[in-house]
C-alpha cells in the first residue's frame, strides 16, 4: 500500500476511534451493524463479484456462525474466542457442502439451490429445538471477555471495526492475487479458463468456502453482541439485503461492500419516516442501481478517476523465443484412428494426423468437414469414441480440457474467448501459472515483476501494441486475436492449435499473423492451424491435411494440395462442367433489389464495405467468396438482422435498411438462412405454414399442399418433427418454407452446406427450375462453380468488398474466381 493510502486509512481509523469513545450505545450498535454487514458483503463479494455466482441464501451462513457461537458459549464452557473461529469453520464447511449441488447448476437453477439452502437452515434451526431453542431461540449469550474484563458496547464496536478493516484488507489481497484473478477468469469465460489449465470446479468451490466462512465469522460476532438470537433474526429477506449491499457498492470492488453497508444500514435510520416503506425503498433502489449503475457506486467513481491513469504499453524485455524453446523436449502430437459421432452422425471418422514440432501443419476443408471438431478433440473439449491422441507417448484422449492444457497443449478459438473484464496484461498473466494454485497463493500479490515482464514480452512478441490495462472486452478484433495467442503462448505450450485465426483480418494483418506463426514454429512449437484463408495456408504451412465430411482426403506439402484434383473438387464443387442453362429467356427490366454503398459489421468494425449490387426481376444472382469474405454478413444486413449498417438497401425503390426484420419479410424479402434453421419440434407442415405467418397469404393451405407435392420426401413426412429429418430434407424444408410466402426475392445462404454431393445436385436442379419459373433469387454459396452453373450474373466478394462482377458464363472462364479460393494460379484444364 502506498504511503498516502496508509495515512488515509490510519486517519479514518483514528476518527472512528474517537467516535467510538464519544458515541452512545445505540450509535455503537449501528456502527457494529454496519461493520458486520460490510463483512458479510465482502464475503458475498468473493462469491458474487469475483466468482460470478449468485447466492440468495447467504443469511444461512450468517445464521450458522451465529448459532455455533451462541450454542457453544451458552451450553458449554468454550469461550467466545474459540467458538468464534469454530463458527466460521462450520459455515465454511456448510459452504463446501453446498458447493456440491451448486456447482452443477447455473443461472436460475443456482438461485433455487441457494434459496432452498437458506430455507433448510432456517427451518432446521426451528426443528432442532433441543440445540437451538426452536422458535424461542437462545438467550443470555455472554459477551466476550478478555483477561477477566467483560466487553461492553464500546469494546465490541472497536472489535467489529478491526474485523471489518482486516476483512477488507484480506479481500484486497485475495482480489489482487492469483486466486482472485483465477476466479475472475473462470467467471468471465469458463471455457477459456480451462484451456489455460484452470479447474473451474476447484476454483468455484474455494470461492464458496471462503464466502461462507467469512459470513459465518460475521454471524458469530453478531451472536456475541446480541443478547439473544432466534430464527426470526435471520429471515429470507436478509439474503436479499446482503445482495443489495454488494450491488449498491459495486460487485468485484474492494470498497464496494463497505459503501453498500453504510447506505443500506444507515439510510433507513436517517430517513426514519421511510420505515414503513422500507421494502419498497429497497426494491426500487436495487432496480435503479441495476439499471443505471451496474458497477455500483464505487464503480461509478472509479470510472471517473480512471481517466488519470497513464496507459502502459508492452515492453519486450524478456526473450520469448527462449522461453518457448526452453519447454524441454519437442514431441510430436500424433492423432491416430480418431472418430467421434454426435447424434448418430460421424463428425470425424478414423482420422490420423500428426503435428511435428517446429512445423506448421494446416487442416483445411469445406464447411462441416470436421476441422474444428478435430481441434476440439485434441484439446479435450470432446472425447473421442475411438482412437488415440498422444503427445510424447502420453495418451491424452479422455482427459478434461484443463488437464490437456496442463499437458502443454494450447489453443485459440474461432471467436476469441478472452476474459472480458480482465485487463489485457491480466489475461496473459493468469495463464502464466498454468493452473497451479496453492494455499500460499491465497494472499500473495500476483503482480510479480518477473511474470509481469514476461507477460509484456509475450504481448510484444505477438505484435500487440495497445495499452496493457485496457479491458479485453474493449479491444478491436485483430487485437483480440493477438492477445488470445499471447495468452495461449503463456503456458509455454509444446503444441499450439489455432482455430481460424485469420477470420475477419484484412490482408495486411493476415500477413503479419503468418509471420508470427512462423516465429512460433521456429521456437520449436508444433503449430496446428485450422484455416479457410488459402493464401495464408499456402504461404506458411509445412504440411497440409485436407478433410471432407470428417475424413482425410489428401495430405502433403502445400504446393501439391493446390493442384490435387480431389481437393479442388471438394472445395469448388462437384461436376465442374455442368452448366444449367436457362430454358426460358430472362425477363429484362426492373431492378427489384439494390444496395448502395452498403456496409455492415459487428462490434464497431465493418465486415463488408461499399457494396453496390443490383438484382433484376427474374434473375438468379450469385455472390461468391471464401469464408470470412462477408457473404453471410451481407445477407444478414439485407434482411435487417444486422443493425450496424451504413448505406442503403432498396426493395422496389423503397428504402428498407431501417426496417425491422418482420417488416422486411412482410415486404417480400425472404431469407433461407445458413444451416437450414428449421424449427425442430414442429412438424414439417407447421414449419412450412410458419413461412406464411407474416405475409398473410390468402390460400396458404393450398400453397402448402402444392409445395408438398413438389417435394415428395417432405410430403411423405408431413407430420414428422422437422428435427428428425436428414440434412437434405431439412434444406428442402427450409426452401419450401421460404417459397410459401411467394417472396419478391428469395435469398439463400449456403444452401449446399453439409449436403452430400448428389443432394447438392438435386438442390441445384431445383434452383434452376425455380429460376426458369421466373423467381428472383439471390444465392450465396462457397461452391463457386456450382453456383455459377445456375446463375445469370455473379459478384465475387473478398475481404468485404466486391472484386469482380459480371455474367456467369464469363466468370466461369475467369481465373480470378479460383484465385479467390486457393490463393494460387488456376490449375490446368478446360473449365467451361
Amino acid at each position: 500500500m502506498s504511503a498516502t493510502r496508509v495515512l488515509v486509512v490510519g486517519l479514518a481509523l483514528a476518527a472512528l476511534g474517537v467516535f467510538i469513545w464519544r458515541a452512545d450505545n445505540y450509535q455503537l450498535y449501528l456502527l457494529a451493524l454496519v461493520g458486520l454487514t460490510a463483512v458479510v458483503g465482502v464475503g458475498l463479494n468473493v462469491l458474487l463479484g469475483l466468482s460470478g455466482q449468485i447466492s440468495l441464501g447467504h443469511v444461512a451462513f450468517y445464521a450458522i456462525g451465529a448459532y455455533v457461537v451462541a450454542i457453544l458459549t451458552t451450553k458449554t464452557s468454550i469461550v467466545f474466542w474459540l467458538a468464534w473461529p469454530l463458527g466460521g469453520a462450520a459455515a465454511g464447511a456448510a459452504g463446501a457442502l453446498l458447493a456440491v449441488p451448486a456447482l452443477r447448476v447455473r443461472g436460475p437453477y443456482l438461485a433455487m439451490v441457494t434459496i432452498a439452502f437458506g430455507f433448510i437452515v432456517e427451518q432446521g434451526a426451528v426443528e432442532w429445538s433441543g440445540l437451538t431453542g426452536g422458535w424461542n431461540g437462545l438467550i443470555g449469550i455472554p459477551t466476550p471477555s478478555l483477561a477477566g474484563y467483560k466487553f461492553a458496547e464500546r469494546e465490541i464496536a472497536f472489535l467489529v471495526v478491526i474485523l471489518t478493516a482486516v476483512t477488507v484488507w484480506l479481500f484486497a489481497r485475495l482480489e489482487a492475487g492469483p486466486w482472485g484473478i483465477a476466479m475472475r477468469a473462470v467467471r468471465d469465460c469458463e471455457l477459456a479458463s480451462q484451456s489455460i489449465g484452470l479447474d473451474p470446479t476447484v476454483i468455484r468451490t474455494v470461492a464458496f468456502v471462503i464466502s461462507a466462512a467469512v459470513t459465518g465469522v460475521a454471524g458469530g460476532m453478531f451472536a456475541a453482541m446480541s443478547d439473544f438470537i432466534s430464527p426470526e433474526s435471520f429471515p429470507f429477506f436478509q439474503s436479499i439485503l446482503f445482495l443489495l449491499v454488494v450491488m449498491i457498492g459495486g460487485a468485484d470492488r474492494v470498497l464496494g461492500p463497505l459503501v453498500g453497508a453504510i447506505i443500506v444500514v444507515l439510510l433507513p435510520e436517517l430517513l426514519s419516516w421511510l420505515a414503513q416503506y422500507r421494502l419498497l425503498f429497497v426494491g426500487l433502489l436495487l432496480l435503479v442501481v441495476l439499471r443505471l449503475a451496474p458497477g455500483g457506486l464505487v464503480g461509478m467513481v472509479t470510472r471517473f478517476s480512471r481517466v488519470r491513469i497513464k496507459d502502459r504499453y508492452p515492453n519486450a524485455s524478456r526473450d520469448v523465443t527462449a522461453m518457448l524453446s526452453a519447454a524441454g523436449d519437442r514431441p510430436s502430437l500424433v492423432v491416430r484412428g480418431v472418430s467421434v459421432a454426435f447424434g448418430g452422425v460421424k463428425a470425424v471418422a478414423n482420422l490420423t494426423v500428426a503435428a511435428e514440432p517446429s512445423r506448421i501443419t494446416s487442416i483445411i476443408g469445406p464447411n462441416g468437414a470436421g476441422k474444428s471438431t478435430v481441434l476440439n478433440l485434441v484439446c479435450g473439449f470432446y472425447q473421442p469414441d475411438e482412437g488415440s491422441i498422444r503427445l510424447a507417448g502420453r495418451e491424452l484422449a479422455g482427459l478434461s480440457s484443463d488437464a490437456v492444457a496442463r499437458a502443454r497443449i494450447a489453443r485459440t478459438y474461432q471467436t476469441s474467448q478472452l476474459f472480458g473484464e480482465l485487463s489485457v496484461i491480466d489475461n496473459v498473466l493468469v495463464a502464466l501459472r498454468r493452473g497451479r494454485l496453492g494455499f500460499r497463493d491465497l494472499l500473495t500479490p500476483h503482480r510479480d515483476p518477473e511474470q509481469t515482464a514476461l507477460a509484456q514480452s509475450l504481448l510484444a512478441f505477438v505484435g500487440y501494441a495497445g495499452p496493457l490495462d485496457r479491458a479485453a472486452a474493449a479491444l478491436a478484433h485483430v487485437d483480440r486475436r493477438l492477445v488470445e495467442i499471447a495468452r495461449a503462448l503463456a503456458i509455454a505450450p509444446k503444441v499450439l492449435a489455432l482455430d481460424e485465426p485469420a477470420a475477419g483480418l484484412d490482408p495486411g494483418d493476415t500477413h503479419k499473423l503468418g509471420e508470427l506463426l512462423q516465429r512460433i514454429a521456429a521456437a520449436g512449437v508444433a503449430v496446428l492451424l485450422v484455416e479457410h484463408d488459402m493464401k495464408l495456408v499456402m504461404a506458411v504451412s509445412d504440411h497440409v491435411v485436407v478433410l471432407d465430411a470428417g475424413k482425410k482426403i489428401a495430405e502433403g506439402p502445400p504446393s501439391d494440395m493446390q493442384r490435387d484434383p480431389v481437393v479442388l473438387e471438394a472445395y469448388l464443387g462437384a461436376q465442374l462442367n455442368i452448366a444449367r442453362d436457362r430454358k426460358t429467356p430472362r425477363p429484362t427490366g426492373n431492378t427489384i433489389l439494390a444496395t448502395k454503398q452498403l456496409s455492415a459489421g459487428y462490434g464497431g468494425t465493418d465486415v463488408i464495405r461499399r457494396i453496390d449490387i443490383e438484382i433484376e426481376q427474374g434473375e438468379l444472382v450469385a455472390v461468391l467468396g471464401a469464408n470470412g469474405a462477408g457473404k453471410s454478413t451481407l445477407m444478414a444486413a439485407l434482411v435487417g438482422l444486422n443493425r450496424q449498417i451504413g448505406g442503403s438497401v432498396l426493395l422496389r425503390r423503397q428504402h428498407i435498411e431501417l426496417l425491422s426484420t418482420s417488416r422486411i419479410v412482410a415486404e417480400g424479402l425472404v431469407l433461407v438462412p445458413e444451416g437450414r434453421q428449421v424449427f425442430p419440434e414442429l412438424s414439417v407442415v407447421d414449419n412450412i405454414r410458419l413461412g406464411a405467418y407474416r405475409r398473410s397469404v390468402a390460400d396458404a393451405d393450398v400453397r402448402c399442399e402444392r409445395l408438398l407435392d413438389r417435394f415428395p420426401p417432405l410430403k411423405l413426412r408431413r407430420d414428422q418433427r422437422a428435427g428428425l429429418l436428414s440434412g437434405g430434407e431439412q434444406q428442402m424444408l427450409a426452401i419450401a418454407r421460404g417459397l410459401i410466402a411467394q417472396p419478391e426475392v428469395l435469398m439463400l445462404d449456403e444452401p449446399s452446406l453439409g449436403l452430400a454431393p448428389m443432394l447438392v445436385e438435386n438442390l441445384y436442379d431445383l434452383l434452376a427450375n425455380l429460376r426458369d419459373e421466373g423467381a428472383t433469387i439471390l444465392l450465396v454459396d462457397q461452391m463457386a462453380t456450382l453456383a455459377l452453373s445456375v446463375a445469370d450474373r455473379a459478384y465475387v466478394l473478398q475481404s468485404g468488398v466486391i472484386r469482380q462482377q459480371g455474367q456467369a458464363a464469363h466468370l466461369r472462364a475467369n481465373a480470378a474466381v479460383v484465385q479467390a479460393y486457393l490463393g494460387a494460379p488456376e490449375p490446368a484444364g478446360d473449365r467451361t
Binding site: 449441488p101 436460475p108 433448510i120 421494502l279 441495476l290 434453421q677 428449421v678 424449427f679
Partner: protein, 290 residues
C-alpha cells in the same frame, strides 16, 4: 386423513403448477424467470378481495379486472426489469424481478394492511360433495380442474393455433423465427402477460381456501419456482406434473410429520434432485458448441 391430505395436496399442487406454468412460459420464450410471480399472485388475490369485498363488486366483474391488472403488471415487469438487461446481455434481470416483487409486496403492505383477511364464504365454499365420508368443497374440486384445464388449454394453444406455434418457434429458434416475420418482442410481451394472468388465477382460486395477505406470495412463489425447476422449466407438462407431485408430497409430509418438517423435506428434495439432474426432471441440457 390421508385422503384429505391428497385432496388438499392436489389443490395446492395445481396452484403451484399454474404459477410454475407462468415461469415456464416466460423462460421458454425469453430465457428469463420472472421472480415477481409470487407478488403477482398476491396481487390477484388482493385485488379480487378488495374489489369484491371492500368495494362490493360482483365476483364476475372483480375477477376479470384483477386478471387484467395482473397481466398489465407483468408487462410492466418485462419492460422495466427484464428487457433492458437481456438487451445488455446481462443476468441482472434475476435481481431486478426480485426487486420489483419486493416493491409490490410493500405497496400491498401499506395499502392492504398487514393483517390477513379471510374471503367471505361464497357458493363454492359453502357447498360440499361427500365422497367416502369426506366433505369436499366445490372449490376444492374446481381448483385442480381449473389447473389441469388451463394446462390443457395452453397445450392446445401452443400445439394447434397459428400464434401458439409461432410462440413455440421463438423458443426453438429465435433467429429463424425473426426471419418468418415473427415479432419476437411482441411475443415476449404476450408471454409475460400470459404468465401474469396465470399467477392471478392461482391467487384468486387459492384465496378462499386460505387467507389473503400481502405476504402470501413470497413463499408460494419460491415453492412454485422449485416446482418449475423440478419439472424442468422448459417443459409445460413437466411443471404441471411436478406441481401435483410436490403438492401431494407436501400434504403427506404435513399430515405425517407435522407442518414444520414440510419445508425441510421439500427443499432438501429440490437440492437433491438438482444435484442428480441439473436440468430438472423433465428438462434437457442445452447444446454446447465451440
Amino acid at each position: 386423513m390421508l385422503t384429505s391430505a391428497v385432496i388438499t395436496g392436489l389443490g395446492l399442487g395445481s396452484m403451484y403448477g399454474l404459477l410454475a406454468l407462468g415461469f415456464h412460459v416466460t423462460y421458454a420464450v425469453s430465457n428469463t424467470v420472472n421472480f415477481a410471480q409470487g407478488g403477482t399472485m398476491m396481487m390477484g388475490a388482493v385485488l379480487a378481495f378488495t374489489l369484491s369485498v371492500t368495494a362490493g363488486w360482483p365476483l364476475l366483474s372483480a375477477v376479470p379486472v384483477a386478471l387484467v391488472a395482473c397481466a398489465l403488471w407483468s408487462i410492466l415487469v418485462e419492460r422495466v426489469a427484464v428487457r433492458p438487461f437481456v438487451r445488455r446481455g446481462s443476468n441482472s434481470w434475476l435481481m431486478a424481478t426480485v426487486a420489483l416483487g419486493i416493491a409490490l409486496e410493500n405497496v400491498a403492505l401499506f395499502t392492504f394492511g398487514r393483517d390477513p383477511r379471510g374471503m367471505p364464504p361464497n357458493y363454492l365454499t359453502t357447498h360440499f360433495v361427500v365422497i367416502g365420508g369426506l366433505k369436499i368443497q366445490y372449490l376444492q374440486i374446481l381448483i385442480p380442474l381449473v389447473g389441469l384445464g388451463l394446462a390443457l388449454g395452453l397445450h392446445a394453444f401452443f400445439q394447434h393455433t397459428r400464434h401458439g406455434k409461432a410462440l413455440l418457434a421463438v423458443v426453438q429458434n429465435a433467429g429463424a423465427a425473426r426471419l418468418m416475420g415473427i415479432d419476437v418482442e411482441r411475443v415476449t410481451t404476450l408471454a409475460f402477460a400470459l404468465s401474469g394472468m396465470l399467477a392471478g388465477v392461482a391467487g384468486i382460486l387459492v384465496a378462499p381456501l386460505f387467507t389473503v395477505s400481502s405476504t402470501m406470495g413470497t413463499l408460494f412463489g419460491i415453492k412454485a419456482f422449485a416446482v418449475a425447476i423440478l419439472g424442468g422449466i422448459g417443459s409445460a407438462w413437466g411443471v404441471v406434473l411436478a406441481g401435483l407431485v410436490y403438492g401431494v408430497a407436501e400434504a403427506f409430509v404435513t399430515a405425517c410429520l407435522g407442518s414444520t418438517y414440510t419445508q425441510i423435506v421439500s427443499f432438501s428434495l429440490v437440492i437433491a434432485s438438482l444435484t442428480v439432474m441439473p436440468n430438472g426432471l423433465f428438462g434437457r441440457a442445452g447444446v454446447r458448441k465451440v
